[in-house]
């Protein structure tokens, strides 16, 4: 009965293909068709512009609190680009680029933050779930969905997104354990954007990487430069193929940065320095990808300008459609909808009570 070392064949890979100076590792460069490269660029730019516009609308008081995505376009789109429409996207609350990529309409996203739950509607040809606000509880839903896909003999996979803060939640570990025990087709995509509101990554965990948390579950993992869309794509391709072919789950840690506020209810100047933000701005995923595409001869400054104008007018048009829908103020009685498939008697009573109150108030107002 000697004391001995148990040799575990574990290591964590780090993947970077296009560095912050735009230097490309040609050996690792993934083979992405040109039209997909351009589509990814367009998706990143659209998400950036829409995010900026949403921030303005929030500051004008037209929409409520939301979580901006600036800086995380590559670390999301590089991964969701691998999904088929029938696959499942299980997002947290900062996945607007992914949602748009999958086909959710901008006016729907505005509806959500304008107070209309109908904005949560997903186009019927997609299997995506609505945003999940409690931190880290939804990877379990993704695990259950992936289990259902496996049980039903489907080839579909699930992909779930969450932040660095979520990796400290118990549910995250329970999800990895469940997914690994049952070997379900699931890709965990951690958006390590360095900040969980005001708590930095260094205070979140002593672990050197977040990716290594998968090792306890004998689950493949990888850490990638999340601001390098080529690296995210390459890593996600391997993970999705593994999941689809019955090889079980993978954890991807995308190192990225939340260039904006946590949510619009937050002031990051209270906990991080301008210098830090400036450092990360140099690693902007959009600028880097544009340089790559220009070097490849797929884009020019003029073309970028043209795409930019296009996406801006798309955002404007969506905003117009949203304003049209919201011209009608939500009916307070709607709050009783969508609680049960069939509204039970006590809720119908509460609804009727509110209806009477509102009618009386209207009557009072009319009588001046």
């Amino acid at each position: 009965m000697p004391k001995k070392e148990i040799e575990l064949p574990y290591r964590v890979s780090y993947l970077s293909i296009l560095d912050e100076n735009g230097q490309l590792d040609k050996e690792l460069e993934p083979d992405i068709p040109e039209d997909l490269l351009l589509k990814l660029h367009r998706g990143m730019l659209l998400a950036r512009r829409f995010d900026e516009r949403m921030l303005t609308l929030q500051r004008q008081g037209k929409i409520g609190t939301f979580a901006p995505i600036k800086g995380q376009e590559a670390s999301q789109l590089g991964a969701v680009a691998l999904l088929e429409p029938s696959d499942w996207l299980v997002p947290s609350f900062r996945e607007m680029p992914s949602e748009l990529w999958r086909g959710k309409k901008m006016e729907n996203i505005l509806l959500v933050y304008g107070g209309y739950n109908e904005g949560g509607h997903i186009p019927s040809d997609l299997n995506d779930l609505p945003v999940s606000i409690p931190v880290g509880t939804h990877p379990l839903h993704a695990a259950g969905i992936a289990y259902a896909m496996k049980y039903r003999g489907k080839k579909d996979v699930a992909m779930t997104f969450f932040g660095d803060g979520a990796t400290s939640e118990g549910d995250f570990f329970e999800a990895m354990n469940f997914a690994s025990v049952y070997q379900v087709p699931l890709i965990f995509v951690c958006q390590n954007n360095q900040w969980a509101i005001s708590v930095p990554r260094s205070k979140q965990t002593r672990s050197r990487t977040l990716a290594q948390k998968a090792l306890a579950f004998d689950m493949p993992c990888i850490q990638v430069d999340g601001n390098d869309i080529l690296a995210v794509y390459a890593a996600a391709k391997e993970a999705v193929e593994r999941a689809r072919s019955g090889g079980g789950p993978t954890l991807m840690e995308c190192i990225t940065y939340r260039m904006s506020v946590h949510t619009t209810a937050d002031d990051p100047k209270r906990y991080r320095t301008d210098e830090e933000v400036a450092e990360w701005e140099k690693r902007d995923p959009l600028v880097r990808f544009q340089k790559y595409l220009k070097d490849k001869g797929l884009l020019s400054d003029e073309k970028i300008q043209a795409v930019d104008e296009e996406v801006k007018s798309e955002v404007k048009a969506a905003e117009g459609r949203w304003e049209e829908i919201t011209r009608k103020t939500p009916d307070p009685l709607d709050m009783f909808e969508h609680l049960y498939a069939e509204t039970p008697p006590h809720l119908l009573e509460q609804r009727a009570e509110l209806e009477r109150e509102l009618a009386e108030k209207r009557k009072e107002a009319d009588n001046g």
Partner: protein, 334 residues
């Protein structure tokens, strides 16, 4: 079916639940059972004994010891087209899955603007009286009954233990079924063709004219025993079995109070902020002028459940306490 007596058979509450699970598994391949020790061990209360052999490990799944994990995964599986029955060994451990139940399952339909129902059924043992100490003897079903977006059932009879599950599985919304662990060995008569029952109505289990005892689950039988004793004294108690704790079928107990003019709520939960408090308030709102005496509540003592047998018995509502209180209420106004 010529002879009604012959068509009845004696089963335990445990067997009734097992039959319900078996039938659901046979009827619908989307149904599967998942939880701690439900497979090889046959469930901590032996409810799923034999089902692994019958249905295989894909459908009778032993899970990691991870309540939030398998409840969350159950939500996901329900969203992914399955009809999961998730067993949380006892309600005490549901606290580890409270966020998944309250903050996720209960609001998914709302958050998705009406797009995603969560057809999930959670079964869990509840209640005290088995000398297993404070951390294994809670009755928290009243807490869950506070939460909009879920339904909370409490089968007391073998017929309900047999029949509520299928109706719950057919319901598009999350349903929690609480089985009092003290009932599993109870025997009852089940009609041979017993099957699905409604899950939204209370039942009058004994008719009476002098006082209404409102109860559910294990306390129902204490209330029925009390009614029997009271009857010998000339007091006829009507006994209501709530069956569904959310939504509450208030019409049934308000109608009864309108007849008897007195109400005593018997609830194993703690008194403060309890289901008993809710029922009392509803009677005040809906039948105040029918009352000849203040509504009374008999609940568990507001202490962690004692381990010692005699202390535990003293902490829980008991037949003699129900009898005493009911007698006082009826005799108070002559």
């Amino acid at each position: 079916m010529t002879n009604g007596v012959e068509t009845l058979r004696k089963v335990t509450y445990r067997e009734a639940v097992r039959e319900a699970i078996r039938e659901a598994m046979q009827k619908d391949t989307r149904v599967f059972l998942m939880g701690e020790d439900v497979g090889h061990y046959g469930g901590c209360f032996a409810v799923s004994k034999g089902l692994l052999e019958e249905f295989g490990p894909e459908r009778i799944r032993d899970t990691p010891l991870s309540e939030s994990g398998f409840v969350g995964a159950g939500i996901g599986a329900a969203l992914g087209g399955m009809r999961p029955i998730v067993e949380i060994m006892t309600v005490n451990f549901s606290l580890l899955a409270a966020d998944q139940i309250i903050n996720n399952a209960a609001v998914y339909l709302h958050m998705s603007g009406g797009l995603f129902n969560v057809p999930l059924v959670i079964r869990s043992a509840t209640g005290g009286g088995r000398q297993v100490g404070a951390q294994h003897s809670r009755s928290l079903e009243g807490w869950f009954a506070h939460i909009p977006g879920i339904k909370v059932l409490s089968p007391a009879t073998v017929e309900d233990a047999r029949g509520m599950l299928w109706t719950a599985l057919e319901d598009p919304d999350p349903v929690l079924i609480f089985e009092n662990s003290g009932l599993y060995n109870m025997e009852g008569m089940l009609p041979a063709g017993a099957g699905a029952v409604d899950i939204d109505r209370a039942r009058v289990r004994r008719e009476g004219k002098d006082i209404t005892l409102i109860s559910y689950s294990a306390s129902l039988f204490k209330s029925l025993d009390a009614a029997e004793i009271l009857s010998r004294e000339g007091i006829e108690a009507e006994v209501i079995d709530l069956r569904s704790l959310r939504p509450l079928d208030e019409k049934t107990f308000l109608d009864s109070v309108a007849k008897t003019h007195r109400a005593l709520v018997v609830d194993e939960g703690w008194r403060t902020g309890s289901l008993a408090a809710e029922i009392s308030a509803r009677i005040m709102e809906g039948a105040f002028y029918e009352l000849d005496a203040p509504v009374e509540r008999l609940c568990s003592a507001e202490v962690p459940m004692p381990y010692a047998k005699h202390l535990e018995e003293a902490a829980l509502p008991q037949v003699d306490k129900i009898v005493d209180l009911a007698r006082k209420m009826v005799k108070a106004d002559g």
